[in-house]
Symmetry: C2
Subunit: 181 residues, 2 copies
């Protein structure tokens, strides 16, 4: 701990980034831990398809966690960038509402780095809004590759998940239900 | 995907290692995802204190997940290494029993790298036993720093969690209940 440690209790801004597995998954782990303590949790997914029946969505339903899947899949491959941008803006507006009005202890903005990276949202505007509006005790977790440097500066805790070994590439093993999705 | 991809379905051996946050937490995320799909999950903790009331233990109770906390805290600081070794051996025997007889879909061996790293268990013996006895469809997640090279070789999927920025050191912020434990 730093010499000037103040033993501060505050809502953390946590970023899980990097090219490896475990960014969303670690956020789900914190979701579970917080839920275990009776905290109020919401998840806003920026890219994953709202129709998918991923294991984490089934779990969130069983746990009574508020889950908002706003994406249209891996949208940066979309030919229709206007719609993609509009979806990102709408998802961010939903997230803003949950942040200010939801009474949550923890909000996960899953895959939120991509709208920032691809410019569908303005990183400086987003961070300025968070600085002014995030309730002090609210914990926020942002996941995704390519976390912009300004987001890293803004965050309290940043972890890079680095791929060391991956079964798809090395052994041709497919993604496993219940483990990876 | 590799050219020789076979689209194999098998139980993965997953290792989360590195000096950053998210090793245990990502395992908890997979636990939640698997539980969401109705899979049978067990967690064996090798170092964490069995008396602690961490958020994840509270969650596991609510979820009906089998949770075995076998450690006596951060035991490698222990003066009494014989007891530490005996505890690691007993925990590994428990894990072996769950692996062969438990009918689980997923077993998490949390902080299991430390007994290997510190020689309380013999890595070659452990991996030899797993190679011979792990049910083919059982997924196994092993967490902790200092994953031995032989374990990395043995695993299907290895992720290193790297610390980029940490609030304790930089801002003197303490660990937050529900988020980090």
């Amino acid at each position: 701990m730093a010499k000037n440690a103040k033993n501060i209790k505050k809502g953390l801004v946590i970023v899980n980034t990097g090219n490896g597995k475990g960014k969303t998954t670690a956020a789900l782990g914190v979701m579970t831990r917080a839920w275990g303590r009776g905290m109020k949790v919401a998840v806003v997914q920026f890219l994953k398809n709202e129709n998918a029946r991923y294991g984490e969505i089934r779990a969130a339903e069983k746990m009574g966690i508020d889950w908002y899947a706003t994406g249209d899949g891996w949208t940066w491959k979309s030919k229709d960038m206007d719609e993609t941008t509009a979806r990102a803006v709408a998802a961010w507006e939903l997230a803003q509402q949950k942040i200010t009005d939801g009474g949550y202890d923890l909000i996960i903005l899953d895959e939120f780095t991509y709208p920032l990276k691809y410019g569908w949202l303005d990183t400086d505007e987003v961070l300025g809004w968070l600085a002014a509006n995030k309730p002090p005790m609210l914990h926020l977790i942002i996941t995704g590759r390519y976390a912009p440097p300004a987001l890293v500066d803004f965050a309290d805790l940043v972890t890079e998940m680095r791929e060391i070994k991956h079964p798809y590439r090395e052994q041709g093993i497919r993604a496993q239900a219940g483990i990876e999705f």
